[in-house]
């Protein structure tokens, strides 16, 4: 696989209030990679991911996804892009009051017609897939439980299953473990790794902790003030780089 699955070129995002969150970001993601994006909060990590699946509109620059530039596409094309790009959020963003299974089935909304989905007609394949992915993230026994009854770690696993139900070729994860406790943190990251290894799905993941980065990433880019300041292998991040990314006073924290 020589062609990158995702190729971001000179991406600029200026919010309507004038904040320039991305100032010309360029990088490539190869098929099957586990790319981690690090950076201080406010460095533009979330903005970057949201531009890629077009929850935000980029101001300028190109985003090549599976060969075509999707930076400025509109309407139906945005929807077909999103079907292939799963997204995991810091706060899970599940639909409250619905069960685990129902939330996972919502991952297939892109394939089901509007009216069919409203009346709950999901295809048998969608249903077996939903079960399969729930099993993959280890919560098959919870499918009838309302998601608001689950712990944070379990909710994030449901979110992963929902994203997988889309049948995506890439997963974007925006600080997926930032609101979880350290122990659960590793469980969720392990499932992401499993998805990456077993299903071969490319992952771009924003993270806060360098120790997690070393453990899970196959490659790292670092953002600072909306620019890429580091790109390389996680093993090569030295104390020097660390200071450059996080500022002079930063100390590396370990979580186990």
């Amino acid at each position: 696989m020589s062609n990158p699955i995702l190729s971001v070129k000179n991406l600029v995002k200026t919010y309507p209030n004038g904040v320039q969150a991305l100032k010309g970001v360029s990088f490539d993601v190869k098929q099957g990679e586990f790319l981690v994006v690090i950076g201080l909060s406010g460095s533009g990590k979330s903005t970057l991911l949201r531009c890629i699946n077009r929850l935000h509109d980029p101001t300028s620059g190109e985003i090549f996804f599976e060969g075509s530039d999707i930076a400025q596409v509109q309407g139906e094309e945005v929807r077909s892009l999103r079907k292939k790009v799963g997204m995991i959020f810091q706060h899970f963003n599940l639909v409250p009051r619905h069960t685990v299974l129902s939330n996972v089935l919502m991952g297939s909304l892109g394939r089901v017609g509007s009216f069919k989905s409203i009346f709950g007609f999901f295809s048998p394949k969608d249903k077996t897939d939903a079960h399969k992915y729930l099993k993959l993230v280890g919560i098959a026994d919870k499918e009838k439980i309302r998601v608001d009854q689950l712990s944070g770690g379990q909710q994030q696993r449901v979110a992963i299953a929902r994203a997988l139900a889309q049948g995506p070729s890439i997963l974007l994860a925006d600080e997926p473990v930032a609101s979880l406790d350290p122990a659960t943190c590793h469980t969720v990251m392990d499932y992401l790794k499993k998805v990456n290894k077993e299903l071969g799905i490319t992952i771009v993941c924003n993270l806060h902790f360098l120790s997690l980065v070393r453990q899970y990433a196959t490659r790292v880019i670092a953002l600072k003030g909306g620019k890429v300041v580091y790109e390389g292998s996680p093993q090569d991040i030295t104390e020097e780089w660390f200071e450059k990314i996080y500022g002079q006073d930063a100390k590396e924290v370990h979580i186990n």
């Binding site: 699946n53 929850l55 929807r79 077909s80 892009l81 999103r82 079907k83 790009v85 799963g86 997204m87 959020f89 706060h91 899970f92 963003n93 599940l94 639909v95 409250p96 009051r97 619905h98 919502m106 991952g107 297939s108 909304l109 892109g110 509007s114 989905s117 409203i118 979110a159 929902r162 994203a163 889309q166």
Partner: protein, 345 residues
């Protein structure tokens, strides 16, 4: 910032102009014909407002906080409200402004409502009231079957008005929610719908009933239409306020799966608003039963129309029976809707 200055100045000058007009009436004691000169009086009011605006601006420019006006202390932005010197109210301009306004309004109000102890204690009048109360407290239950049938008609009128209002209000609520109507075209639709609904709601149901009783003839159908129009406007507003408070998380979650707009509304927004929707709707039915009674008075059918017929013939024991039936049903509806709404929490 600009809005605050405008509100402050308008408020102060309105109070000032009002006081000036009262003073003019007292001092010049104009004839009834003069009181009707709307044009001239409006000009006087406007001039007084202008003077008031100048005074208000002047006082509020003063560095001494005690001189600041009521409008200032009411509308000033939060950061100014955050700090304040402790001063007794009677040492401040605002305190006196409020006191004078309330006293003058009380005196004028007593005059306008022709408040009169004399009439309240007038012997003939009092005897009439006693007769009425006697009738009310010894209700004539012969008309009870008819009253029951009529109140059932009223309850159904309220029910159908509510049910028919739901789909309209449901659809409108999404078009009237700021967080959904993004973009210039959507904003224009949002603004015009909001204005239309506010206007509709400003017209009381009883006035709609008068309009419809001319249109479709006196009877329950006119009453139902009046309640329906009013319910659509009220529910759409309450619904849309709920839509505006939904959290963005599930919306983004569903959008990112490649869902359509309709699917996003159905799967991410509806689950967040459905319980409050039902709660508002049950409450609206409860309100509609009460309103339906009043609407009946102007020919909207049901128990209200029956009440006004007996009242016109001064048949107080019959009126007493009807009022009793209304009171029981309204009380029961009130209790039931409270219990249902509690269960929906």
């Amino acid at each position: 910032m600009k809005a605050y200055l405008f509100r402050r100045t308008f408020f102060d000058s309105f109070i000032f102009a009002y006081l000036v007009m009262v003073l003019l009436v007292v001092v010049a004691s104009p004839s009834p014909e003069e009181m009707l000169l709307l044009e001239r009086n409006s000009i006087l009011f406007t001039v007084a407002m202008f003077i008031g605006a100048v005074i208000s601006s002047g006082l509020n420019k003063a560095s001494n906080e005690k001189l600041h006006t009521l409008g200032e202390s009411l509308f000033q932005p939060q950061y100014k409200k955050a700090t304040k010197n402790e001063v007794s109210w009677y040492k401040t301009m605002a305190g006196w402004q409020l006191t004078v306004f309330l006293c003058v309004t009380f005196v004028v109000g007593i005059r306008v409502t022709k408040f009169s102890l004399l009439e309240l204690l007038n012997e003939d009048g009092f005897a009439g009231a006693v007769r009425l109360f006697k009738g009310l407290f010894s209700p004539n239950f012969e008309i009870l079957p008819k009253a029951v049938l009529n109140i059932i008609e009223t309850i159904f009128m309220a029910f159908i008005a509510t049910i028919l209002a739901i789909p309209f209000a449901f659809v409108l609520s999404f078009f009237c929610a700021r967080n959904i109507m993004k973009g210039p075209v959507a904003y224009a639709i949002y603004m015009s719908l909001r204005t239309l609904l506010n206007f509709t709601r400003a017209i009381e149901a009883i006035i709609w009933a008068i309009i419809f009783s001319v249109w479709v003839g006196i009877g329950p159908f006119a009453g139902m239409l009046a309640l329906m129009i009013h319910s659509i406007a009220s529910l759409a507003k309450q619904y849309s306020e709920m839509v505006e408070t939904v959290s963005d998380g599930p919306i983004e979650g569903i959008q990112s799966t490649g869902a359509t707009k309709l699917q996003t509304v159905w799967f991410a927004i509806v689950p967040q608003v459905i319980l409050p929707y039902i709660s508002f709707t049950v409450y609206r039915w409860d309100i509609n039963v009460r309103m339906a009674t009043i609407i009946g008075l102007v020919g909207g059918g049901g128990i209200g129309t029956m009440l006004i017929q007996y009242q016109g013939q001064a048949m107080w024991p019959e009126v007493g029976c009807i009022i009793l039936v209304i009171a029981i049903v309204v009380w029961a509806m009130d209790q039931a809707s409270a219990v249902i709404r509690e269960a929906l929490k």
